[in-house]
């Protein structure tokens, strides 16, 4: 445990630099995020990192803030989207995708847990192949994602021990996704505000917990362009707090499936609209 005064210094410094609030209960988070920094700096402990920060090492202060601010994500985050993938999306698309790889795009992949979770699910299903593209704005988090290297803390939330044993190798204190699973995900730097049509037609798009950072106009534009890339029978998965309603006419909620969206003009499940025949008088 860190001495209270040092913990207080750290939380105040980090808050000033990145806005992240480190409550007193975040001791484990601090330990798990700063221990790798201590190692790369050749320091004996997290406490030694903070000692140098307190002596005014600005570079180390910034490095600590960045290490702690890493966007929170974990394997099978929120669970529901992954259940939807196994129970709704994959069974619906599988027959028509036999003989070719299903195209999946994770549009805010962060440090890779989402695309790797999908790759694990697909590995566990028979007769399904997928081409998974994972993009993120930050080249730095994608480096981590590509390496597939996660701390002991990260592999213990959302991930069953059976999946850890099956899909990871031990790498010192960390755990690394096995090469065969890493080979199933392609990582590329990409900004949702830029043109992303080069990724081509997608069967499934995961775009979770990122639209919340954009203005209403930007959200509408991004959703319209996502719809334009989606296969006619494809699926868009958004975060639990996000929706297309009121933002685009090109997409609609899949009936009874929270967080799941389909193209507005997609076949059978579209609501029947009766038009009045009296308009052309």
């Amino acid at each position: 445990m860190l001495p209270e005064a040092k913990y207080r210094f750290l939380s105040e410094d980090v808050k000033r630099r990145s806005g992240l609030v480190l409550g007193p209960e975040k001791g484990y988070l601090v330990e798990s995020r700063l221990a790798p920094l201590a190692r790369t700096e050749g320091l004996a402990s997290v406490e030694a990192v903070i000692d140098l920060m307190m002596r005014g090492d600005k570079r180390l202060c910034e490095a600590a803030a960045e290490a702690l601010a890493t966007h929170e994500t974990f394997f099978f985050r929120d669970k529901t989207p992954f259940d939807l993938f196994s129970e709704v999306i994959a069974p619906a698309l599988k027959p028509s995708r036999a003989g070719r790889a299903m195209k999946i795009w994770c549009a805010a992949a962060s440090s890779g847990q989402e695309p790797y979770s999908l790759a694990m699910l697909i590995d566990e299903m028979s007769g399904l192949r997928a081409d998974i593209l994972a993009t993120d704005l930050s080249g730095k988090v994608l480096e981590k994602a590509r390496a597939g290297l996660y701390t002991q803390f990260e592999v213990q939330r959302g991930l069953s021990i059976q999946r850890l044993v099956k899909h990871f190798d031990q790498a010192g204190e960390n755990w690394q996704i096995k090469p065969e699973l890493r080979a199933k995900v392609r990582f590329e730097v990409g900004n949702l505000l830029d043109d992303f049509s080069r990724y081509g037609r997608q069967d499934v798009i995961f775009c979770r917990n990122v639209l919340i950072y954009f203005s209403v106009e930007e959200k509408a534009k991004i959703l319209a362009r996502l719809a334009g890339m989606l296969a006619d029978d494809g699926y868009l998965v958004l975060g639990a707090a996000e929706t297309v309603v009121g933002l685009t006419d090109a997409l609609k909620p899949a009936p009874g499936q929270r967080g799941l969206y389909v193209k507005a003009d997609s076949g059978a499940s579209a609501p029947v609209v009766f038009r009045s025949a009296t308009a052309a008088a």
Binding site: E31, Q156, R157, I161, D169
Partner: protein, 121 residues
């Protein structure tokens, strides 16, 4: 109410674990080693067992092997919770009949996530 037996030779760990499982809605019992845990299980079989590996008298893996051989001994969901953090120990535990595995240090979120994976919550 579901019951959880916390088996660890450290009183501090037992206290921390008790708080976490009680917050998750379990009634909690404690045992300081594998032999005491086995005696407790013969009295009342719990729904869940949070199990340390290295303990005096009887260690976690010997306890688990003995438990699974008991009448009704397949019933409890057993979650290892240990500083033995390597693949060899994990696979040994799974072969002996463990359902989940927590590598120390742990916190409430990890226990909750692992209990969910094991179908307990």
């Amino acid at each position: 109410m579901k019951t959880c037996l916390v088996v660890d030779d450290s009183r501090v760990i037992r206290k921390v674990a008790r708080k976490i499982v009680e917050d998750m809605g379990f009634a909690c019992e404690e045992a300081g080693d594998g032999q005491a845990a086995l005696t407790q299980c013969r009295k009342t079989m719990p729904d869940a067992i949070l199990l340390d590996w290295n303990m005096p008298v009887m260690n976690g893996i010997d306890f688990l092997t003995a438990l699974r051989a008991e009448e009704n001994g397949k019933k409890p969901v057993v979650v290892f919770c240990t500083t033995e953090n390597d693949m060899a120990h994990i696979t040994q535990a799974l072969r002996a009949g463990a359902d989940e595995y927590v590598m120390k240090p742990f916190d409430g979120e990890i226990i909750e996530s692992k209990f969910a994976e094991a179908g307990l919550v």
